[in-house]
Amino acid sequence: MSYPPQPTLPWSTAGQGPVTYDAYSLPVNDNVNPYAFSVELNGSYFLQKGKMVAYYGDISFQGVGHGALDRLLGQQFNSPLHASDWVVAQGRGKMVLADRAFDLNSYDLDQGNLTVRSGNLLAFEPTLALKQSIIPGFLTLLGTGKFVAASNGPVHFMEPPVRVDPQALVGWADCPAPCHHYDHHYMQGVLGGLRRLTGLGGASGEEHQFEFVGAGQVLLQSSEALMPERSVGQVDAEPGVPGGGLPQQGYQGGHQGGGQQLPNLQVPGLGNLGDLGRRFGL
């Protein structure tokens, strides 16, 4: 993992003029400023739809699913479920990427793996393979190469063991998947049970965390405002596949920054009463 460059002010306020770039002076596969990333393209690159803001040279953009790209996709794009959100840029030139003025960082993977929230991943080199994580709403990148991810505020790296707020989590590298952690105290007693069933009262909003253990790194953004989720599609219903056959709108979908952190709220069809329903054999 390489650490992202330190954000700097776009240009100094005194005297000298603003920095201008042309096709030669644009950085090669590096940040132009904390919010824009320049890619030197010679071949192909995967990017999320609509994230190109400008380019020099001869570049074409084709939707994933295009016939001519079948071979490339078969090798590197193993997540066909959300293919309509992705585009392949092909050609030669320099391309500037940006996403709603969010912070962008590039990361180098060296025979590694990194799992990232689907809405945060912006672009990646075709030497990496993209797969859908078994954790709903996350994507996993495998192999060697560079990718670009967006975050709301600069990214911080944490070493496990660590517990993180679900809304601040951007992704994790080289470490086992997170588990849910609920503060024990919160679940205790009659009041705890009532809270759990009704979601009423007493919650500080921080009772639920993601816990990471093992060796690796956890990536956090410096705000709790989630990036808009990208649908990762529907997994086929199959025994043993988490979330299989159900709409992929887990804890992170549809509750943008709403502080919705209570358990058992998202059982489809039963809503809040999921636990109760199971107890009574419904």
Binding site: L9, P10, T13, A14, G17, P18, V19, T20, Y21, D22, A23, L26, V32, N33, Y35, A36, Q48, K49, G50, K51, M52, V53, A54, Y55, Y56, S60, F61, Q62, G63, V64, G65, H66, S84, V87, V96, A98, D99, R100, A101, L104
Partner: protein, 212 residues
Amino acid sequence: MAQFRLQGSRVLAVDLAGDAVKARNGSMVAYTGQMTFKKLSGGGDGLRGMVTRRLTGEQMTVMEVQGKGTCFFAAQATEINLVRLNGETLFVEADNLLCTEAGLRTGTTFTGLNGMASGDGLFTTKVEGSGWAAVTSNGPAVILRVSQGMPLRVDPGAYVAHTGNLNRSLKSGAGWTTLMGEGGGEAVQAEFTGEGLVYVQPSEKITFGGDV
């Protein structure tokens, strides 16, 4: 002679010594010294400009700020880019123009169908003369140079402004796959050729061609 400087990257500070600047109505956040604020009707281009702006939809409510001291301007925490004009022309969307020195002439110009398809409207604002202008952008603008043999293509939603002698034309990246919902996401692009600078913001406005 008004002095333009940035206070941080999102606040514009203008030092005035009895002279005047034109700024977007309501964009003053603080001032020191003595200032008077006078609303200018019709973008401050006089009667003819007023009618043109009304007709073209490139509307701009502008005030004239005059006095002695320092006046601070900001617009919804957007980043501010200072542009120094030495007789060149700055083309900018009215929404992105924050402040100009009083000596600069502003007006509207026809961009043709290019503007319409990209959602920027048929007209754009033109700033001419010598002096400072402040342009806002969502995220710090990246300034890209266009020269002979080095054309630039820009997503219309990320375009903010340009200076110099540039031709703007609309290019379509759409093919038959776009109709089938498998487009490249960049169906409409603005191509700039000639000599000049293009200001591009690291974010995209919602435009007609944005999601195709």
